[in-house]
């Protein structure tokens, strides 16, 4: 009896603490979103109230959409993120297959070599990366960003994918070989479809840091044509420091795409983290 009461108390305390922290986590986001739909007066007079018919206003969004090239920035971010993910997954899976499937001289060494990048941030090579991009005439192109993010994502992708590929049954691959499938077919037709969950995990892990990165867009592609949404909103919001409606709406528009991605992929993301893929 005492034990039951004890458990109940424990659970009530856990709920109280978790609700408190959830409020702390969500409060700033909610404040930004609700105030972005209010008149300037209401933003300052009653910042904590949701918009009412009296205080509702879309003036901030009008300013932002008129001046900022949000749609274009969004498109750049989308190209960079999708392009990088494609190459991370394709090249990563190919290398992971080579490392997990074939025994060859230097296999372990190659694995270690490719793993260095898991711990050493690619940013430390920025000075030389910029020189390389200048020499290759890739400054202010989305290609430069895709290349850098591919290099950044590969080490962890190879590490995770080769763990999963080791679990693919050898019998299956050998059966394929007996049927005369080439090694490429075995990889693309037999192995890749089987590690799809792992591919999804890797994609979700890489998606958010690439989408949110400020450093490389700032250094490699700061031009108006190639601005990503993260860099674009940084510059854009910075210009409107005194126009609170515009700043709040700009922020809300930057939050929106990430939240949509999160709602779509959160289950995959959480499953990926908790399945121990990164242990």
């Amino acid at each position: 009896m005492q034990r039951v009461r004890h458990n109940l108390l424990n659970r009530a305390l856990a709920h109280a603490a978790l609700i408190t922290y959830t409020i702390i986590a969500l409060f700033p986001v909610v404040i930004i979103l609700i105030n972005s739909f209010k008149t300037r007066k209401a933003i300052f007079r009653h910042p904590l109230q949701p918009p009412t018919p009296d205080t509702f206003s879309l003036i901030g969004y009008e300013t932002v959409l008129k001046q900022g090239d949000y749609l274009h920035y969004f498109q750049n971010s989308l190209i960079v993120t999708v392009g990088s993910l494609f190459f991370i997954l394709l090249f990563g899976a190919m290398a992971a297959f080579a490392l997990s499937e074939y025994r060859f001289k230097g296999n372990t060494l190659m694995g270690l070599y490719l793993a260095i990048g898991i711990m050493i941030p690619i940013r430390l090579g920025t000075v030389a990366i910029l020189q390389f991009m200048v020499a290759a005439h890739l400054v202010n192109t989305l290609t430069a960003l895709i290349l850098v993010y591919t290099a950044q994502g590969l080490p962890l992708a190879i590490f995770i994918l080769s763990e999963f590929m080791r679990q693919v049954s050898a019998d299956l691959k050998d059966a394929g070989r007996i049927d005369g499938l080439s090694e490429y077919r075995i990889f693309f037709r037999l192995v890749l479809p089987l590690v799809r969950p792992a591919l999804a995990t890797v994609a979700v892990f890489n998606m958010i840091p690439i989408w949110n990165d400020l450093w490389f867009p700032l250094i490699l592609a700061p031009g108006e044509e190639t601005k990503t949404l993260t860099l674009g909103s940084q510059v854009f919001i910075g210009q409107f420091v005194t126009d609170w409606n515009a700043v709040l709406s700009g922020l809300s528009l930057a939050i929106l795409p990430v939240m949509i991605l999160y709602v779509i992929f959160s289950r995959q993301l959480i499953r990926g983290i908790t399945s121990g893929a990164v242990k």
Binding site: L124, G125, A254
Partner: protein
């Protein structure tokens, strides 16, 4: 025949490996060496001249440079300490509560608490800048509600508070990562172990301290090294909230902003790729030291806890 199939196989291996190795080598490994090389050269009359360790001597010997370097390192260390003392314990505590059996709404809490982690530094930085702004007054209003209005300061504008404030905002943003990793580790503890503890009367808080915590030490080790690498590589949040000059008066300077400003220059000082590379190399050595300590001292000792 045999030799032929073997050599054929070797070609497959090379083709599978080539794209990843090429991109990775060209953009990750070679730039690291390129940066090392740049740190050993100086620009003299439009020409790069080898100067050995002169740049490092300047960085540590010239008071103008060494003062900035040590300030950035000291601030960065404080930034890291706050993450270790606030972010990771909160993350572990939340994970421990989430793992209470039969707790409802787990999925909701987890999803909601992870939201700040997915937002970009730009969003987080500006959102908090607005909330803490004395102009808008949300922070003073909230403090007034609990009768603590006198505690309010324009934290981001005061030298003594700015760095700690930014570190705490970064903690707010990234609590989700230790929470998720520790939660996963707690789930992987076999029930038999906990049941055996229960037989001996070890339950509740005691079970956490005596049984679970020792078993999740390896995950805490991973979180610590991830925090270390992330913190000594930090740049974005400071840049968004305080600019490249790490206002007020360089009090929020971390290694990342120091590198950025040196490399690109600022109002009074032209950009200097060689000194920038020198700072990047120092960051490399700091991070490498942390990773080596982790791999050789911490991880090898923790093996025995794995099951």
């Amino acid at each position: 025949m045999r030799a032929e199939t073997r050599s054929k196989r070797r070609w497959h291996i090379a083709i599978f490996l080539a794209p990843a190795v090429l991109v990775y080598t060209a953009l990750m490994i070679l730039p690291l060496f390129g940066t090392l090389k740049l740190s050993l050269y100086q620009q003299v009359d439009q020409q790069q001249v080898f100067v050995g360790l002169d740049n490092f001597r300047t960085l540590f010997g010239d008071p103008n440079w060494s003062e900035s370097f040590w300030r950035a390192l000291k601030n960065n260390t404080w930034f890291f300490i706050i993450h270790m003392l606030v972010q990771n314990p909160i993350g572990i505590a939340i994970a421990a509560m989430l793992s209470v059996p039969a707790l409802r709404f787990k999925g909701f809490y987890r999803t909601a608490i992870f939201i700040p982690t997915i937002l970009s530094f730009v969003i987080v930085g500006f959102a908090w800048k607005l909330i803490l702004s004395p102009l808008w007054g949300i922070a003073p209003d909230l403090l007034k509600m609990v009768g603590l209005k006198h505690l309010f300061h324009p934290w981001l504008g005061k030298e003594e508070y700015a760095l700690t404030t930014i570190a705490l905002i970064s903690v707010w943003q990234f609590v989700g990562i230790p929470m998720m990793l520790i939660y996963a580790a707690l789930l992987s503890i076999p029930d038999e172990i906990l049941e055996a503890g229960e037989m001996d009367g070890i339950t509740g808080m005691k079970a956490f301290w005596k049984i679970k915590l020792p078993l999740i030490l390896p995950s805490i080790g991973i979180i610590s090294i991830l925090t270390f690498v992330g913190n000594f590589n930090a740049f974005d949040l400071v840049y968004t909230m305080e600019g490249a000059m790490a206002a007020p008066n360089y009090s929020t300077e971390v290694m990342g902003t120091f590198l950025f400003r040196t490399f690109f220059g600022h109002q009074t000082q032209p950009g200097d790729p060689n000194m920038g590379a020198t700072i990047a190399m120092m960051m490399f050595f700091i991070i490498l030291t942390g990773v080596v300590i982790y791999l050789f001292l911490i991880q090898t000792r923790m093996r025995r806890y794995q099951f």
